[in-house]
Symmetry: C2
Subunit: 336 residues, 2 copies
Amino acid sequence: MRLKDIAEITGFSSSTVSRVLQDDPRISGETKKLVLSAVRKSGYRVNSVARSLKTNTTETIGFMAPELANDFFMKVAEGAEAELGRHDYSMLICNSRESAAEEKRQLTLLLEKRVDGVIIIPSSGRGEHFSLLTDFDVPLVLADRAVEDFSADSVLSDNEDGAYKAVTALIEGGYRRIGFIGGNMELNNAKERFAGYRRAVMDGSLTMDEEIIRFGDFHMNSGYKLMSDLLELPSPPDHVFVANHFMHIGAAKHLAHLSREGRGPKIRLSSFDEMDVSSIFGFLTLTVAQPMEEIGRRAASLLLERIREKKENPGKRKKPREIRLSTDLNFHGGLN
Amino acid sequence: MRLKDIAEITGFSSSTVSRVLQDDPRISGETKKLVLSAVRKSGYRVNSVARSLKTNTTETIGFMAPELANDFFMKVAEGAEAELGRHDYSMLICNSRESAAEEKRQLTLLLEKRVDGVIIIPSSGRGEHFSLLTDFDVPLVLADRAVEDFSADSVLSDNEDGAYKAVTALIEGGYRRIGFIGGNMELNNAKERFAGYRRAVMDGSLTMDEEIIRFGDFHMNSGYKLMSDLLELPSPPDHVFVANHFMHIGAAKHLAHLSREGRGPKIRLSSFDEMDVSSIFGFLTLTVAQPMEEIGRRAASLLLERIREKKENPGKRKKPREIRLSTDLNFHGGLN
DNA sequence: CTGTTAGCGCTTTCAC
DNA sequence: GTGAAAGCGCTAACAG
């Protein structure tokens, strides 16, 4: 069933049917009713592919994340999906598998599918290949992470501030030897969280001790391992600030194992990120909650704005905008 | 840059360029080289939209899940994505928000986008609206859950068997009062897991005691709440089998809270599902591991098969196939 | 308010 | 081995 068939059934022309479907105000109420009823009866569905070919827009955007089975990324995705859905956009999802090469490969596919724009949570700190998109004039918004070699619209948390607030609160709470489990330092958010930690330590007149500063990969197992390393130190920290949720769970898991064996050390944890499973353990003191869904929502709405601007003002590209969302500091277990 | 431009640059016709792009064997090596080099130089990308209009296939499938920020669903999605990627298919992702109505709404969108097929993890036990797809001859595969009022290809875990194996092992391990925290009983997998529990209890000559059988909604908080209910019983269970991962984490969280307060009851947990955070607590005895990614992979490959069959044999619809994947029983903490 | 017409960028007979 | 031409289903001037 094609639009043309509806035209034949109702006796109107294709253009009239097309206009009805687009709610063109010029169409008379009577005609509209007739056409719409024929559409309903026949079960006709517009062919978006044909429409896209004609209009040169697909109402589809690409969403690329380093992995899919990751609650943080998918909260961002849910936020984006919600915002896009309000505007009848769909989302083509891509798993970059934490690889910039794979990221590039998938971008070319998105390009061929003629998506109207792309949201990327970068897999690495580098994004030269994102120029693929801008070369083709496809709007791009980075979410959660920025890259160092490519400037693009982005929606990020205020990582440094979040870490600073948390560590400062810990110092005020009396901790004097606060360890740090950081993320992959090629990623800007890992760097910024570390910078926040460092600044808080300095401002709080504690000494920066490299012994109690470790870097992992933002995954659970590295949190587990690094926690274990820290505890084996002759003089272990009295608190550890962990730079993301997954490493925090890993670190807590290690503490839980120890305490199960009856040799639980006196130590507490705080973490960047807050998920609904964050507080399952008793070691948690503070979390720095990122507005995960808002990151997605804002990324989507910025992207839609860029798409609109492009349509209204072809060829004119605005200079990249960076949106920083602030985090919330939440207390959980008390300070000791 | 269009295909036609490449034709003009190289002096060949559009048809020839098109054939080169599709690796048509009739094209001479020389021509191929010439065209390909022009393609590379110009940065030309095929326009999939135009191709789709012509070929009536989009190489895109829809993937619908009740939520996105759910590691179980997304492991399935990753499996599907991997399989689809091997065949250059893309995935349009939809969040049905645990609502059949929303599910229906999004299906019509997928229909308009002319996806070649759809994978659905149903939000509810009902799927009359899935006929939207079959009416339009769009292949559909259900993953993880079946629906009672609509028969479709499906890839499911052997839920009953998994629960049966686990509970039987618990009985053999000496537990005599095994409670059950079930899922939303409108869902077939919740029902089947309960059936497995029931059969094991019967076969093991324990008594079915409704007191220690509770039903939640597969989310963490209901596991927490129901665990608390069970512990308040005059005669609480000595073990609780929880019907999925998220409720298990909730139940364990409750136990962790209690034991932190020094009043940890002597009770252990087992759970359907195994995720990498399953074993963070010490209460865990057994898990019934579902092959999450395989569910996705198999769903995708069955879907691709159906798409192929449809192309080769239009109009002929095979009768639905149900694939049951077996689960693995894994021991964690020992039996007491 | 409605119809005619051209054409989006590709694939694919059919012809040579 | 290559080209000419038609057409996928829709939209959007333009015309009336």
